[in-house]
Symmetry: none
Subunit: 128 residues, 2 copies
DNA sequence: AGGATTGTGTCAGAAAGTGTCGTAAAGTGT
DNA sequence: ACACTTTACGACACTTTCTGACACAATCCT
């Protein structure tokens, strides 16, 4: 498999877990089930942990003792959460579900190295 | 685990201790429960002791006989406190709680190598 | 020493997270 | 089109984590 591709409609269970589609499952199992999930403008981006690390490197030049740099760092880190695919499922923490407006139905969109989680209605609005 | 990530809302107990979220707990247990807590502009930064040491090194080059350098050093050290995670909790000394305006509700923000403690209302103002 | 204040360990109930399984639905090969 | 395999879903039981409370220990202050 080359990367995360395509659109899937999945439903969350009563605890807010999503079943990873079989095609993505293979990728995550082979590589690593470790993930970082990050809130963007109204939707979630899921990074396999390696991909996240690559993005994080771009922040190393910022100075943690500088006020405005620190604010930028915080924005980035505060929105992120580690998670993991367990038993073929990913638990989406309540805060993240909230931020992305996810109810039961979730649309999952492959973006090659990462994939996104959308509330169906929001995705529809955005793509217009 | 990659580092401290995400935002958590936790509440202090009657003695001013905070329950460390399970995700952070793992990191602190593996590395070391020894911490240094430091007051910044209205919030607290918590350094795992190794991370503190690394930051301290950056200050060694400052000149102990230079007045303004010395002021910066003093500011840095005077506001720092050693503390420790015990029974999965961290006691926040009264002085620090005071300085950060922490009441019962505290927002905990992961910053990769360190994490921050905020009074919810102050964080909200800052992030705007 | 006695009493107040501050720090520490532990526990029980509630809430959140996790594993598993049966059934339903979708996909596959012939 | 049919039987078979795989995948998705919902449900349930179980485990872990979070919280507030209590009891006790240590320290400080007269």
């Amino acid at each position: 498999m080359n990367g995360f591709l395509g659109t899937y409609s999945v439903s969350l269970d009563d605890k807010g877990r999503l079943n990873v589609p079989a095609k993505f499952k293979g990728l995550l199992e082979r590589d690593s089930p470790q993930l970082v999930m990050c809130v963007m403008d109204g939707f979630l981006i899921v990074f396999p942990q390696r991909e996240w690390a690559a993005n994080e490197e771009k922040l190393y030049h910022l100075n943690a003792f500088d006020k405005s740099d620190r604010n930028r760092l915080r924005e980035f880190y505060a929105r992120a959460t580690e998670c993991e695919m367990k038993s073929g499922k990913i638990l989406i923490p309540a805060a993240q579900r909230e931020a992305a407006g996810l109810k039961k139905e979730v649309t999952l969109v492959g973006m090659s190295k990462t994939f996104e989680l959308w509330a169906p209605d929001r995705l529809e609005k955005t793509s217009k």
